[in-house]
């Protein structure tokens, strides 16, 4: 009798364990598409297809919560238990990041609010990636970079009070291309910290087959332009001592999928740093012209530099600057420029170089995380072409750091970055076609109607589709 009792108990226990484990597996299968939890090597993001909703337990709310570094696992368990929730999964790649499942039928907004109110919580956000899948977004690639959750311009799921979907659809674009090391983007700025750990791998280095830079007005002969050109000091060291150029470079091409910092619009690209603005972030028209002249020279020498990102300007109308930008266009170089931050109408009061009516110039306005034109951005129904995220933009900074900044300066490299994505899959595209493709690849945004020629925000997924 005793033997039969133990046998029956063992069978019952085994059945319970199998049932519990099967249920767990079911949940794990459901969660996998929503988050990349395993580390991946550079440029090898996780591509996912729409998982569908057939097997999803959609009745329970899930949110993502990152607890502060000093909060222990026991404390986390106590908090979730107190709020009638459960730690559904731990995201090992990011310390303190957990998937929390609600057990008392609250909405995602309610649960997020509960956690945001706690001092132990760094941030809490709805797991809206599931929603994105259900909207039929199709293939997309997640970035595992540490600050990706702050990059609303690439993936806006409503974090920090933003509007879900008010982004450039980067994850869908990355399913097509993450960029190419054969595409060079010149960042014409205050230089770039080319040693920044999230940029160093994507900095252009002059190939040995390309001769050093020589220009007639250089007094000291050829310049060893290893990574670019410093016009301010007439040398080959374009190190940034302001931060602005480093920030813009990160938006275009911080290394993606490396678990460090942020992801650029391009995970892989070559940034050519140019320094014509000083430590105060200002420079002369003449130095800007010399820097563009350098880019043209390098293009003629065989460097595949097809885009100049120009996050600067003024109301000065220089015909010489216009001429050299036109020349860049004739050499196959797109010039993407900031519309300006005076909250004024560029149709009435032009801002240069953005307002040059050249067929290789794109003028960019700035949007906030709710798809509203920012309070500072210039506009222009005919003279400003397109808009991009430009407020509370996190990117690379000096001292190997990361900082948030705002301005049409920040919107410009989003568009330059998307141009580079297009070029990564279509190297032979003409400047006219590249510009047209960019301007046709927008999401219509009501706040831009009558303010921006295309009436829309750049959409990277549309730009790289149907190449």
């Amino acid at each position: 009798m005793s033997r039969n009792l133990w046998l029956n108990l063992s069978i019952a226990l085994a059945l319970i364990l199998i049932a519990a484990f099967a249920g767990r597996l079911h949940k794990w299968n459901w969660h996998r598409p929503s988050l990349q939890t395993s580390p991946s090597s550079r440029g090898s993001g996780q591509t996912e297809t729409d998982p569908g909703s057939d097997e999803s337990d959609s009745s329970k709310t899930e949110i993502l919560v990152r607890f502060r570094s000093n909060v222990s696992r026991d404390a986390i368990e106590n908090i979730t238990s107190r709020l009638n929730d459960e730690v559904e999964d731990r995201i090992e790649a990011v310390d303190g990041l957990d998937v929390i499942e609600d057990e008392d039928n609250r909405s995602a907004d309610e649960v997020v609010a509960q956690y945001r109110a706690l001092s132990e919580v760094e941030y809490a956000e709805a797991n809206s990636e599931i929603k994105l899948d259900h909207e039929g977004a199709g293939k997309h690639v997640h970035a595992n970079d540490e600050l990706f959750y702050k990059q609303w311009g690439l993936f806006n799921h409503g974090q920090d009070g933003g509007k879900s979907g008010a982004d450039i659809s980067a994850m869908q674009a990355w399913a097509v291309t993450k960029g190419s090391d054969q595409v060079v983007v010149a960042v014409l700025d205050s230089g770039v910290d080319y040693t920044h750990p999230d940029l160093a791998g994507n900095i252009w280095t002059r190939p040995e087959v390309i001769k050093q830079y020589e220009d007639e007005d250089l007094t000291e002969g050829a310049i060893d332009d290893v990574h670019g050109f410093n016009v301010v000091e007439d040398n080959g060291d374009p190190m940034d001592d302001n931060g602005h150029g480093t920030h813009c470079a990160g938006i275009i091409g911080a290394e993606g999928g490396n678990e460090v910092g942020i992801a650029g619009v391009n995970w892989i690209v070559k940034i050519m740093p140019l320094r014509f603005m000083d430590s105060d972030g200002a420079g002369t028209t003449k130095d800007a012209i010399e820097a563009i002249n350098y880019v043209i020279n390098r293009k003629r020498a065989g460097v595949n530099v097809r885009v100049i990102s120009a996050s600067w300007g003024s109301t000065i109308n220089s015909h010489a600057l216009e001429d050299v930008i036109r020349k860049a266009g004739q050499e196959g170089i797109l010039f993407v420029a900031a519309a300006g931050n005076d909250h004024s109408d560029n149709d009435a009061k032009p801002h240069y170089p953005a307002s040059y009516g050249l067929n290789n110039v794109i003028s960019v306005a700035a949007l906030d995380r709710n798809d509203e034109l920012t309070s500072f951005s210039n506009w222009g129904a005919t003279s400003v072409d397109i808009a991009a995220p430009g407020q509370q933009i996190v990117s690379t900074w000096l001292n190997h750091g990361f900082e948030e900044r705002q301005g049409t300066s920040m919107a410009t490299p989003f568009v330059a970055g998307v141009a580079a994505l297009i070029l990564s899959t279509n190297t032979a595209i003409s400047i006219d076609d590249l510009r047209t493709r960019l301007l046709n690849s927008v999401d219509a945004v009501p706040s831009l109607k009558g303010k921006v020629a295309t009436g829309g925000r750049i959409n990277a997924a549309k730009a790289v589709a149907s190449q």
Partner: protein
């Protein structure tokens, strides 16, 4: 943003006294206001100057001399005099 370094105000007063050819004691105490400028030139570009189009936090300093008000704009790194006899200056 941290409060303004008094050395910046001293520098502005000294510059203004020199430009106007007056004794610094003639310059009033002045007003300082924290603000965001539209660009790296603090909205006061020099002739032939291009600047980064990034919102730049700083201070507006107003100094009064003999009934006239003069405006300086500053960050921790730079100081500019605005529209002095029709021109902007980096100090």
């Amino acid at each position: 943003m941290s409060s303004i370094d008094p050395a910046i105000i001293i520098k502005a007063r000294s510059d203004l006294a020199q430009r106007l050819g007056v004794d610094e004691s003639e310059i009033g105490e002045g007003q300082v206001e924290q603000t965001d400028f539209p660009d790296a030139s603090l909205g006061a570009p020099l002739e032939d100057e291009m600047s980064a189009q990034m919102i730049t936090p700083g201070w507006r300093i107003r100094l009064k001399v003999r009934g006239e008000t003069y405006e300086y704009r500053a960050t921790a790194r730079q100081l500019r005099l605005v529209n002095f006899k029709g021109r902007n200056y980096r100090v």
